[in-house]
């Protein structure tokens, strides 16, 4: 399979631009087919951090859709999300603040 990091990187950029994500707060890189995404994840049309129930559902859908699209780029072997406000555990997206509260 083709693993041209620059091609992958260009495709990730395009996906972010076309999505409903506030991509100004996200940085990304590609290393040997592994895509890294870092920063704050926020839907562009939401004016909250995504913590309300309705807002959280929208954000989770956006995250799942983004993940699916990036995985669909030829040559991508993995995605590493290092988001400050969301994390994936047991295949589920969890708002970090809520996770921390639950642990207390």
């Amino acid at each position: 399979m083709l693993k041209e990091d620059f091609v992958i990187q260009s495709n990730v950029r395009q996906i972010l631009i076309r999505s409903n994500i506030d991509y100004s707060r996200i940085t990304f890189g590609t290393v040997k087919g592994v895509v890294y995404l870092r920063g704050v994840f926020k839907s562009a049309h939401l004016h909250t951090d995504g913590s309300g129930e309705g807002a959280a559902n929208i954000t989770i859908k956006s995250l799942e859709s983004l993940e699916k699209k990036i995985k669909g780029i030829p040559g991508v072997i993995d995605i590493e999300f290092e988001l400050t406000n969301w994390t994936k555990a047991g295949g589920q997206w969890i708002l970090k603040k809520a996770q921390e509260d639950g642990g207390r």
């Binding site: 990091d5 620059f6 940085t27 890189g29």
Partner: protein, 353 residues
């Protein structure tokens, strides 16, 4: 005939609705960010189109108070003064600007219009001559209209109309460009392309309009058209570094990596201090297995931006590929100091420790 009329009326109503929506939105934004010169200039432009010159003037002046070097706001204000026949004010601004930018063809052109309309034909001819000298667009335009013939400016009977036409073209083009960008931002690329196309049609020598068109075509996925527009922009402005970068990304999207590589190299040459461009060039070198050059670009990117984490990850992996274990370990350890939870990097480090 009737259907044509009603279609025109519908078009006008639709346009007015869009205009009001934009105006309301910018008014709202200004309340939140009163110190943004851009917003002040944009609202001034919108008001001027509707003939509300007094309000427009206030906003242009505010834009210039916030940013005295704001070129577009200066043009718009002087345009407004010319249109409202406040010649002295217009002349004062333009002469000051021309002192700062003696090679700006459009400033000479504006002064030419002003002098012509105030009956100072000799001075008008001099300014038009300068505009022609500094930009081929004016030479082509005035030659076509027979104002410029055999190296001499002829301000004949029809010259006033010609001068006013070019004068208005600039202003209308700015307006369509602004509306186009607004529509693009709102996720309406088809409408945006129509507006940006109008802007580029009115002023084909303005590289920004072509660059904006290229960006929207790329967003839409119309890559050949995007390439065409970026190339037009670069033909007009060969030192537009981000134009080369954007062109490179489009080539990347269609897997024409040889062209992408060529364009990214130019982008880096023009903007050597942009870490992100160096990072992308490093990816292109690395994809070609030119590891030395890739490492060089990554190190440069890190020198510009020491917290550029991805550049450090790529550099570590590059060292690892070349079996330079010590250097790879050093880079991975530096990454883990910033992101200790990065499993990928931790695994890589453990594997080579």
């Amino acid at each position: 005939m009737d259907s044509e009329k009603s279609a025109r009326r519908r078009g006008k109503v639709k346009w007015l609705r869009l205009y009001r929506r934009i105006l309301t939105e910018i008014e709202r934004e200004i309340k939140i960010h009163p110190a943004y010169a851009d917003l002040q200039n944009q609202i001034g432009l919108l008001l001027m189109v509707k003939g509300k010159t007094e309000k427009a003037e206030r906003h242009f002046l505010e834009a210039l108070r916030q940013n005295p070097k704001y070129r577009e706001a200066t043009f718009n204000l002087s345009f407004l003064y010319v249109e409202t026949r406040r010649w002295e004010k217009a002349e004062e601004i333009l002469l000051l600007e021309v002192k700062r930018h003696p090679e700006d063809a459009f400033l000479h052109q504006l002064l030419g219009v002003l002098y012509f309309q105030t009956g100072r034909k000799k001075q008008a001819a001099g300014r038009i001559h300068k505009a022609i000298q500094h930009h081929s667009y004016f030479r082509d335009y005035y030659s076509k209209k027979r104002v410029w013939q055999r190296g001499v400016v002829h301000l004949h009977r029809k010259a006033e109309g010609v001068l006013r036409e070019i004068h208005w073209s600039h202003h209308s083009a700015q307006f369509h460009n602004f509306i186009g960008l607004y529509l693009a931002k709102k996720g309406k690329p088809r409408q945006a392309i129509l507006e940006l196309g109008k802007a580029a049609g009115l002023k084909p020598d303005e590289f920004v309009f072509h660059a904006n068109l290229g960006t929207v075509y790329a967003y839409q996925g119309a890559y050949p058209k995007a390439i065409q527009e970026f190339q037009k922009a670069l033909k007009i402005q060969p030192f537009y570094g981000m134009g080369y970068a954007n062109l490179s990304y489009v080539y990347g999207l269609i897997r024409r990596t040889r062209e992408a590589f060529r364009c990214m190299k130019k982008a880096v040459r023009i903007n050597p201090q942009y870490a992100d461009l160096r990072y992308n060039l490093a990816l292109l070198y690395s994809d070609r297995k030119r590891y030395e050059e890739a490492a060089f670009e990554l190190k440069k990117a890190l020198r510009i931006n020491p917290s550029y984490l991805f550049a450090r990850i790529n550099l570590g992996v590059l060292y690892e590929d070349q079996e330079r274990w010590k250097e790879a370990r050093r880079e991975y350890r530096k990454i883990l100091q910033v992101t200790p939870e990065d499993k990928h990097i931790r695994n890589r480090l453990e594997r080579i420790s």
